[in-house]
């Protein structure tokens, strides 16, 4: 990049790095609905079906969601992603993936979420969605191992990035507070969702803790909360507090860095072609019209050697 390009005032919102077209949004919405069902089926499953399918249901939902996530990803990239958006996605996802070992456990990683949320905030909801998908995918490939939990984690992280991009406009300190609050809520929600995913695998425990098909939602919800409390909710709350603190501290700086980078990357750069000053474009590579070039002589390179050789 050219050195010393003057820095204009950084706008509070930069152009979106990855714009989702109408049809893609429809696919995204449908997929998200299916995702909600894939997460929340214990609450709505019919008791007759539930008893017979208790074991198969988690596996079948996992496979279904895997297919849906694959189809969704293909839809988002259909028509191609700009190289800049792709490179930025890859690099930020790598950053997030490298921070995953700093979190702990299966639910709720704080630093990784920070990258996803801030990326979604700075670069748009579409970008945030794909960033969530890729960060989870990348970190699974690098560290966590690929498994049936992956589509669920990917979707959860993607929702997190999407939500961050959809937050209302704000700037300065208020923005940092807004994003920090969202981050805390989102990490608790993510932990909750992952507990929800794990919940059906714990059938066989006391019926007070595992779900009972057909019961009213509130009753099942109480059981889920009890299960969460006993397993990880405490940790989740601590992690949420940590996310809040981290965002408050570093969020402003990171957002500025991301926006500066997106400005330098010139997403959606408009190439403006000015006047041609009357010169016709060159028709063929061989033609060399008399140019106004200030080279003193149109000598061939061979002659230059002759010049130097003579004393």
């Amino acid at each position: 990049m050219p050195g010393g390009a003057p820095m204009s005032t950084i706008r509070a919102s930069a152009p979106s790095a990855l714009r989702l077209r109408g049809p893609s949004t429809a696919v995204l919405t449908l997929s998200s609905l299916i995702g909600v069902i894939a997460f929340g089926w214990p609450f709505v499953i019919d008791p007759d079906v539930g008893l017979g399918h208790e074991r198969d249901a988690p596996l079948l939902f996992a496979v279904t969601l895997l297919m849906v996530v694959v189809v969704l990803m293909a839809e988002i990239v259909r028509g191609g992603i700009d190289a800049k958006a792709l490179a930025m996605l890859g690099v930020l996802a790598a950053l997030g993936a490298s921070l995953r070992p700093l979190g702990g456990g299966v639910t709720g990683f704080q630093p990784m979420f920070l990258v996803i949320i801030l990326g979604g905030r700075a670069l748009g909801p579409g970008f945030g969605f794909v960033l969530g998908l890729l960060t989870m995918l990348g970190s699974a490939v690098v560290t966590g191992g690929v498994g049936p939990w992956l589509p669920f984690q990917m979707l959860g992280a993607a929702w997190m990035g999407l939500g961050a991009g959809l937050l209302p406009r704000a700037s300065g300190r208020r923005e940092v507070w807004l994003v920090a609050g969202y981050g805390a809520l989102a990490s608790v929600a993510y932990g909750f969702l992952l507990n929800l995913w794990f919940w059906p695998f714990t059938t066989g425990l006391d019926s007070e803790l595992s779900f009972v098909a057909g019961d009213p939602v509130v009753a099942n919800l109480r059981r889920l909360i009890a299960f969460s409390l006993l397993t990880s909710l405490g940790f989740d709350l601590v992690r949420a507090a940590g996310t809040l603190a981290l965002t408050l501290m570093a969020g402003g700086l990171v957002l500025r860095a991301l926006r500066r980078a997106s400005r330098r990357a010139a997403f959606g750069a408009v190439a403006d072609f000015g006047e041609t000053s009357g010169w016709p474009p060159l028709a063929s590579p061989e033609g060399r019209p008399a140019s106004a070039s200030t080279s003193g002589s149109g000598e061939r390179p061979g002659a230059a050697g002759g010049d130097v050789g003579s004393a």
């Binding site: 003057p6 000053s277 130097v308």
Partner: protein
């Protein structure tokens, strides 16, 4: 082959155009060299050729740029990928895959070539660039020279007609730079490619060039090499010597200069004012301010330093030289206390530099790493200076003052990431020198610097040495060592191979001799200043 017609480029949000009314014509099969001071628009010119400006960067392009008959107005960079190969300054940032062979094949995959054809071309390119024995290696394990060759290979497999390179040898030591330039020569002479490259180290490349494009401000002037050198603000030492001695036409290589140099040698030999002995006073007399004794440093797979010893006295300027991997950087890190040696002792006075913390450390030793960017992490240059003053516990404004001396026209509100290489080095130096350390360590300071900034650096180092700082430079740049060093230490395979006064060491070795020394051998002149001082002293 490449044609610019009345091209002006203005970046978005920029106050002034980067290029104005450029008219150029580069014929097929030529090697054109683009020179100019940092930030002068060389990169912009190169990026216009393959369409990155304005399609990728945004902005406004007036006029036409045409390559192999294709106008960049209607062709985006991806459409030009089969005629133009573009290699950026930092090859490792441009790698898309993780293995050498895959990297070579990537461009062809995007072009949709048949697998058998791809295989053939990959094999050819491996042979052409000497990469066959590293074909399966992961890219991050390669040396800088190998990475540069892989980057060139990765665009060559598409068989472009034009090759555009942005400072291909700036990160390389002389040996690797020779290999890369030789490969480029092969491409131009055997394959008839058209090559357009920008370069700071003119002394390496100007002899290969068929034409030189001097970028001055926002204008581009197109010359034959000899003419360009007559007027250019950036010149290699051989050309400076030629200008001084009034040779016409100006020599571009040491060989050309030696033919002209006989009369000059006779004149100088007759004079009595040989170069001052101050450039190489015996250092053994004064007590060392920092010393490393028999240190051994072992990295996971390689022994970086093997019972090496070095001691530096105040006021000395020591140049550490040697090929890549010889241990220069490790020696600097050991002296700075960043790496602890496995055995041996490092002492600064009575203390071990590794144990120093905070303000003490900054006042004792300052190290400017290879990538000055690593030292800067705040939002603006002014903030960096303030932080440096606070860390060094000195009065406010110290480092800002130093910076103003080094780089006078720098806008201190700029973000460090937006600076050019030279500017970043200046900021890093100002930050490090805020504490007025007794020992100043510099790792490859002149990489990517143009001659003007280099001159300012040299004068700064001379001042520091005169005021009693011990300076140690790890460098490949023999010209820099010739100008500023009082002592030269040569490392190889982790051991100190030679350690002596600069003048003798540098003159004794053909690899490390600067151009002036090679031209005027056997007379002991190292720099053009010395020659001009001697000539001035003659009757």
């Amino acid at each position: 082959m490449i044609s610019f017609r009345a091209v002006s480029v203005t970046y978005p949000d920029a106050a002034a155009p980067a290029l104005v009314a450029v008219d150029l014509e580069i014929v097929e099969g030529e090697l054109a060299l683009v020179v100019g001071s940092t930030g002068s628009g060389k990169s912009t010119l190169l990026r216009c050729v393959n369409g990155l400006v304005p399609h990728f960067t945004g902005g406004r392009l007036d006029g036409h740029v045409t390559v192999a008959g294709r106008d960049t107005r209607t062709h985006r960079p991806r459409d030009l990928a089969d005629v133009v190969g573009y290699v950026d300054q930092d090859p490792s940032a441009g790698f898309v895959t993780d293995v050498v062979e895959d990297e070579l094949a990537y461009a062809m995959e995007s072009l949709g070539l048949a697998p058998s054809l791809m295989r053939r071309r990959v094999e050819e390119t491996l042979d052409l660039l000497g990469l066959a024995d590293i074909r399966y290696r992961p890219l991050r394990t390669l040396s800088a020279g190998q990475k540069q060759r892989v980057a060139i290979g990765s665009v060559l497999t598409a068989h472009p007609s034009v090759l555009v390179m942005d400072e291909p040898t700036s990160a390389l030591d002389p040996q690797a730079a020779e290999e890369v330039l030789a490969a480029v020569q092969r491409l131009v002479h055997d394959l008839g490619m058209t090559v357009l490259m920008s370069e700071h180290r003119l002394e390496r490349a100007v002899q290969y060039a068929d034409r030189v494009l001097v970028v001055d401000g926002s204008t581009v002037i197109d010359h034959q090499p000899a003419q360009a050198m007559a007027h250019s603000p950036v010149i290699p030492p051989v050309v400076a010597l030629g200008r001084l001695a009034g040779w016409d036409p100006l020599p571009l290589t040491v060989r050309d200069a030696r033919r002209d140099a006989e009369p000059l040698r006779r004149r100088l030999a007759g004079g009595t004012a040989l170069p001052p002995a101050g450039n190489g006073g015996s250092p053994a007399v004064r007590p060392a301010v920092v010393s490393a004794r028999e240190v051994t440093v072992r990295h996971p797979e390689v022994v970086a330093l093997r019972r090496a010893s070095l001691s530096v006295a105040p006021g000395e300027v020591v140049a550490l030289m040697g090929r890549n991997g010889a241990g220069k950087t490790t020696m600097l890190r050991v002296l700075a206390g960043v790496d602890r040696p496995e055995s041996g002792r490092v002492r600064m006075g009575t203390r071990d530099p590794a144990g120093l913390r905070g303000g003490e450390r900054v006042r004792a030793v300052g190290l400017v790493p290879q990538n000055p960017r690593d030292l800067l992490w705040t939002e603006s240059v002014a903030q960096e200076c303030r932080d440096a003053d606070r860390d060094a516990e000195t009065s406010a404004g110290t480092s800002a003052g130093l910076l103003a001396r080094l780089q006078p026209e720098l806008d201190v509100d700029l973000h460090p990431g937006d600076l050019s290489e030279g500017q970043r080095l200046a900021v890093a130096l100002a930050v490090v020198l805020a504490g007025d350390p007794a020992v100043l360590l510099l790792d490859e300071p002149t990489r990517g610097l143009d001659y003007a900034t280099k001159r300012r650096l040299v004068s700064l180092l001379r001042d520091r040495a005169a005021s009693g700082t011990a300076v140690v430079l790890a460098t490949h740049d023999v010209e820099l060592a010739a100008e500023v060093a009082t002592r030269v230490v040569i490392l190889a395979e982790g051991e100190v191979v030679a350690d002596g006064p600069a003048r003798e060491s540098v003159m004794a070795s053909p690899v490390f001799a600067p151009q002036v020394a090679k031209v005027l051998a056997p007379l002991p002149f190292l720099t053009v200043e010395e020659v001009s001082a001697c000539l001035a002293g003659l009757p």
